[in-house]
Every structure is written in C-alpha cells, then in structure tokens.
C-alpha cells in the first residue's frame, strides 16, 4: 500500500515539477538571497532528487554519516558549478541503522519524498535488501560501499567500491607481492556476508601467493566481544600476520586484547577497518602499524582539496566511505550528462538511460583514476593499501 502511495506521490510530484519547470535555472548560480528565492521557486522543474541510505546511528554510523557528508559535499559543489547541464541535484539521507528491514522503510520514505535515483545503501546487507526494491521499481541505484557480491546482482545496481572477492584477492596479492608474511591467520565474522565473502576469496587466492593459512577462526555477532581463543590459536600457530576482514568496531577490541596478550603480528584489514581511529576512547597507539586495503587517504595529494573542504563543512576528517560517496555523486553526474537525463523522465526510463551511460563514462575520482564500469555494475580501478603511522594513514 505504502509503495503504491509512494509511486503515486512521486508521479504527482514529477508531473507538478514538469508543469512549473522552466529555463530559469541557468541564470540562478549566484548566492544573493533574491537569486536563491528565485532558484527555489522557479528552478524546481529541473531538479533531480537523489536519496542516500545508510546507518546514521548505530554501531556502523561512521560509515553512513561519512557517505551522507561525502555525497552532500559533491552535490553542493555540482550545484554551485551550475548543476549537471543546468539540472540541480537535491539530496536527502535516511537512516537504516545497518538493519535490512529498516532499509526498506528508509527506501519507502525516500520514495515518498520523490527520490529518482538512489545513492546507497551504505552497508552490504541493507544494500542487498534494497536492491530488490529498486529492481522492482526499476530505479537506478549506485552504492558507494555495498561490497557484497549480491549487492549488484540486479542490473540496475552499480557500485563504486570493490566487490568483496576482489578485496580478498587483492589483499592476498598485496601481502604476497610485498612479502609481508608467509604464515597468516584469519579472524572473521561468519555472521556477515561482507566478512565471509572477503575471507573466502582470500583463502582461495592465498596458495597462489605463497601464503600459508595457519589459523582460520570465526566469530559471530553474538560473540563479538571475546577474541582470546582466536588470538591464542593464531599466536600458537606462529602467525606473522593476522588478516581481519571485519568492521573496525570488533577490530578495535581485537587489537586491545592482542596487546594485552603480548601478541604483536602485522594486522591487515580491508575497507571495513576504515574508521578504527574514530572509536571513542580507543588507544590509537594500538593501531600503529595496522595495514588496510583502502582506496583513499587524506594524505594523498589528489585528495587534499576534498579533505580541506570536508573538514571545513563537517568538522571531521573524511574517510574512504566519504570518498566513495563523493565519487558516486560525480559518477551519477557524469552519467546523467552522458545519457542526456532530464528531471522529468520517468524513474524507469531514467534508469535505462543511466545503465547504458554508466558503462560509457570514465571519471578521475578520489578512490581511483580513470574509473570505468562494466554492465554488471562492477568498477574497474587499481587497489591501494595504507599503513597507520603516527595515527594517520600513509599510502604504501
């Protein structure tokens, strides 16, 4: 029922927008109050509404807030520069608390608001859940950071980050090529698709890189506070490196407990590790030497301007998720240009045009130069790794 209502509302809104649309927007890029007012009332006809879904509260809030801010910054920049061929972007974020059920509510709320394309969801499980909704509505979806394989199973969904198997494979390759370790232990969360997916491909790739997996230990969402046994087994097996394809929350506890045990291998994580330096009351010296596969670092030359603007706007340092979302909005803008998107298009027509356009664009983003996409929705870019030195990421 809600869906029908949402669709009707969206249709009514689109219709009214078209009705009052005009050619005024081109002149409205200046910040005097009068111009603002004119823009608000007159240029509505050529606004494309982007929805963002992510955990804005809850244990994974760091990701969702970063995605919201990154997308917001990109939208502001694009609008300040005159929009996408004169079409303004409008952004609204909804909270899903990293819960697939709440994601559907968030999606319905955004549709009630008039969303035409979705930037989200931020985390894998919610992303998979919402991808079936967008597929049913044939709405274009670009997830900044939903990395599980199934996230882009439907052909209307694309992503900016690497898929989990690619992260696992890339991690194994990176460890092998840089000769970081031969004996590797894995501690992963068997209750999330993200963690199991990365682990699976890591295990598959490891033998090719001369890596011996000496311990392969799991935990679940219900047992994510005590890692003493897993760490003991890794230590016992003589692991030189512990691979942690998990989120930073648990990783912070693992680092603490390993330090208490006097166990000091190299710890290596994937993109879920991003955010570890933001855990409240976390002793940052524990993360010293931690390596993680990340496509973004604030210390890189190419991300300098973004980092400064981001800090000025939101008061905190951007992380990889912010960069992913920023790139996602720019990718959408590029594809809108390429596909000749207009604000009055039906959601489904817009999706079809965007699907074709995404495979034709190439953008230089924060998370990679010359990013391209294939029709399956997967990005093509080179992986990068960082090491935490003196409390900041240093690109390797």
């Amino acid at each position: 029922m809600k869906k029908v209502l949402g669709l009707t509302l969206a249709a009514v809104m689109t219709a009214s927008l078209t009705a009052c649309g005009g050619g005024k927007e081109a002149s409205a890029v200046n910040n005097t109050p009068a111009a603002e007012a004119e823009k608000d009332s007159g240029a509505e006809g050529s606004t494309v509404k982007l929805g963002v879904i992510g955990p804005l509260t809850g244990p994974a809030a760091t990701y969702g807030i970063a995605v919201q801010n990154g997308a917001d910054l990109a939208v502001k920049e694009i609008n300040a520069a005159g929009g996408v061929d004169g079409i303004m972007l409008d952004l609204k974020a909804e909270d899903d608390e990293n819960d697939p059920e709440k994601t559907i509510n968030a999606y319905n709320n955004l549709k009630d608001w008039g969303m035409q394309m979705l930037v989200g969801a931020t985390t894998s499980k919610p992303c998979i859940a919402v991808s079936y909704e967008t597929a049913a509505d044939n709405m274009f979806q670009l997830t900044p950071s939903g990395s599980a394989v199934e996230c882009v199973a439907n052909d209307n969904v694309f992503r900016v980050c690497f898929a989990d198997p690619d992260q696992g494979t890339a991690s194994a390759k990176y460890i092998g090529e840089n000769k970081l370790a031969e004996k590797v232990a894995i501690i992963y969360d068997s209750s999330t698709e993200y963690s199991s997916g990365v682990r699976e491909s890591f295990v598959k790739e490891a033998p090719n890189e001369g890596i011996e997996i000496v311990a392969d230990e799991a935990f679940t969402a219900d047992t994510n506070t005590d890692f003493s046994v897993q760490l003991d087994k890794a230590k016992e097996a003589g692991a030189e490196l512990v691979f942690l394809p998990i989120y930073y929350q648990e990783a912070s506890v693992i680092l603490k407990q390993a330090a208490d045990k006097g166990f000091d291998p190299i710890f290596f994580g994937c993109d879920g590790m991003d955010g570890i330096l933001t855990v409240e009351n976390f002793d940052k010296s524990l993360a010293e030497g931690l390596m993680l596969l990340t496509p973004f670092s604030v210390t890189e030359e190419s991300s300098k301007k973004f980092t400064e603007d981001y800090i000025a706007a939101y008061g905190t340092e951007p992380n990889q998720f912010a960069a992913d979302a920023y790139d996602a909005v720019y990718a959408i803008a590029a594809a809108m240009k390429q596909g000749g998107i207009t604000a009055d298009m039906e959601i489904s027509d817009m999706c079809e045009a965007m699907k074709t356009a995404m495979t034709e664009i190439s953008i230089d983003g924060l998370t990679g130069a010359e990013m391209t996409w294939n029709a399956a929705g997967e990005p093509n870019k080179a992986p990068k790794a960082a090491k935490i030195v003196n409390g900041i990421y240093e690109m390797k």
Binding site: A218, T220, Q230
Partner: protein, 293 residues
C-alpha cells in the same frame, strides 16, 4: 600449555557469567520471577563507570562505587515501580514487564549515549601473571574476576545463612504467605534482594567491560542471556549452582571454540544446556520442588 590458557580464559569468562547469574538466581529464588532487565543493569553500571572514569577522569575505585550506588538505586526503583504492583499477578505478566524494562533501559541508554561503541578503559590495574617462563600469561583482570567471583559467592552464602535479613530471604523463598504470618516484611525483603542483585550487576559490569572492552547500550543483553542459561544450568535458585553453571558454561564455550569450531561454540553451549535439562530438569544443583500450576 595452550589448553591451560584456554581453560583459564574459560574460567574467567565463566566467573563473569557466574556473578551475573547470582543476580538472576537470587531474584528468582526469592521473588519467583525472572528479571530479564538484569543484563541491562550491567550495561548501566558499565556506562556509570565509563562516565566517571573516562569522561570525568576520576579514580576507577570511585567509578565502581558510583556504579554500585546507581545500580542499587535503579534496581530498587525498578522493583518498586514495575514489579511490586504486579505482585500476585500471573508470572507471565511479570515476565513481559521485565522484558519491557529491559528494552526501556536499552533505549534510554541509546538516547543518552548514542549507539557508537566506546572503548572501555580497564578499571583493574593488576599486572598479568607469567607462569612457566612466560609461556602461560594470565591477565590481571582474569585473576581479579575469578577472585571476586569466589569472594562474592562465599559472602553471599554467609549473608543468607547468618544474618537476620538473609534468614528472612530464605523464609520468603520457601513460602511468602507463611513468612508474612511470621512477621516478615515480604516487600522489604524482596527490595533488599533486588538491591543486592543490582549491586552485583554493577560489579559484573565493571569486570565484563574490563575484560571485553567494548561498551554499547546492548553490551549487557547477550551476557545476560548466557548468565540466565548458566543459572538454569546450575539449578536456578541455588547460589553454588549459579557459580558452577557459570564457570561450566564459560569453560565449555571457550574449549569448544578452541577445539571444535569457533563458529559453532554457541550452538554447542546451548546443546549442552538441552542435554543437561533432559537428564536433570532442575539443573545440576536444583532442588525438586512441587509447584502448584
């Protein structure tokens, strides 16, 4: 050597379960109700200590003291407001109320502290013990946990058997009506029980968060459920039973993680519970009591 290390970690985890289980078992034994909010009182204790020690930078002992006071008051208030009006109501009504209180506490904590996890600075500053030339290392908090658990258990047994109010508790647990006729203030006795149980929860919170240093509004819920299992395992209502149940549960959990599968540890723990209950429906030390249905 690794076996010993797993075993000691298991006993430490089990001791925390045991301290929480003591709270469950006392309240059940005396008030005949399952206080599902018990786990969340642990969380409140954790946040009280975090606020005093990490936010206000005061000494850890003061933090623990504050937590004990806050939790004791909270326990008594919850009993007075939520459970006392239901005395005499069906046990199902009380159970549902307890679950409601549990959610209330979690959500109030969510409102006040938000749901981002905090790294809890350990309140136990005891150096770790190195045995066998450093091959076996027992952390300070593990030792403190095990010792605290034993002290609490012995203290509680003495309290119940030797003091007047302890005797009153025993009487109330046997027969509330008869106890009233003998001049025992049942309401006061039950309030004291809640006070003691909640104070124990505060101490359990300090130890739990010091051992597993991640604090969220949901911190207490899983240990709370496991401790409830431990209480049933050992025979609910029995104080030594809570200790035995808790330690056994912790050891089984850790050993099955170490030697069978780290994924299946919870499944194994709960299977053992089912088997024990099939063989001994009242738990290891539980008394067979005929109850009117």
């Amino acid at each position: 050597m690794s076996f010993l290390s797993y075993l000691i970690n298991g006993i430490s985890l089990g001791s925390i379960y045991a301290i929480i289980a003591l709270g469950y078992t006392m309240v059940y034994g005396i008030a005949r109700m399952l206080n599902f909010a018990h786990g969340d009182i642990i969380m409140v204790g954790g946040f009280a200590i975090f606020t005093v020690v990490s936010t206000m930078n005061l000494p850890p002992l003061l933090g623990i003291f504050t937590a004990v006071v806050i939790c004791t008051i909270l326990g008594v208030v919850i009993e007075r407001v939520a459970y006392k009006p239901l005395r005499g109501a069906s046990s199902l009504a009380v159970l549902i109320t307890a679950i409601g209180v549990s959610y209330l506490l979690q959500n109030v904590a969510l409102l006040i502290f938000g749901s981002n996890a905090r790294q809890f600075a350990s309140v136990v500053n005891v150096p770790s013990l190195k045995l066998a030339g450093g091959a076996l290392s027992i952390s300070g908090v593990t030792i403190v946990t095990i010792v605290t658990c034993l002290v609490i258990m012995i203290g509680l047994t003495q309290f119940i058997n030797k003091t007047k109010i302890g005797q009153a508790m025993l009487a109330v647990s046997e027969d509330q009506g008869a106890a009233t006729l003998m001049g025992i203030d049942v309401n006061r006795t039950i309030a004291v029980t809640f006070a003691i149980g909640s104070a124990l929860a505060a101490i359990a919170g300090a130890l739990l968060c010091s051992t597993y240093p991640s604090l969220t509004p949901y911190t207490g819920s899983m240990p709370g459920i496991k401790a409830f299992v431990a209480a049933v395992f050992g025979g609910i209502g029995s104080i030594p039973g809570a200790l035995i149940g808790g330690v056994l549960l912790g050891v089984i959990e850790n050993l099955s993680k170490a030697y069978i599968s780290s994924q299946l540890s919870d499944a194994i723990v709960f299977s053992v519970l089912i088997v024990v209950l099939l063989v001994r429906p009242t738990g290891i030390l539980g008394k067979k009591i005929m109850e009117k249905v």
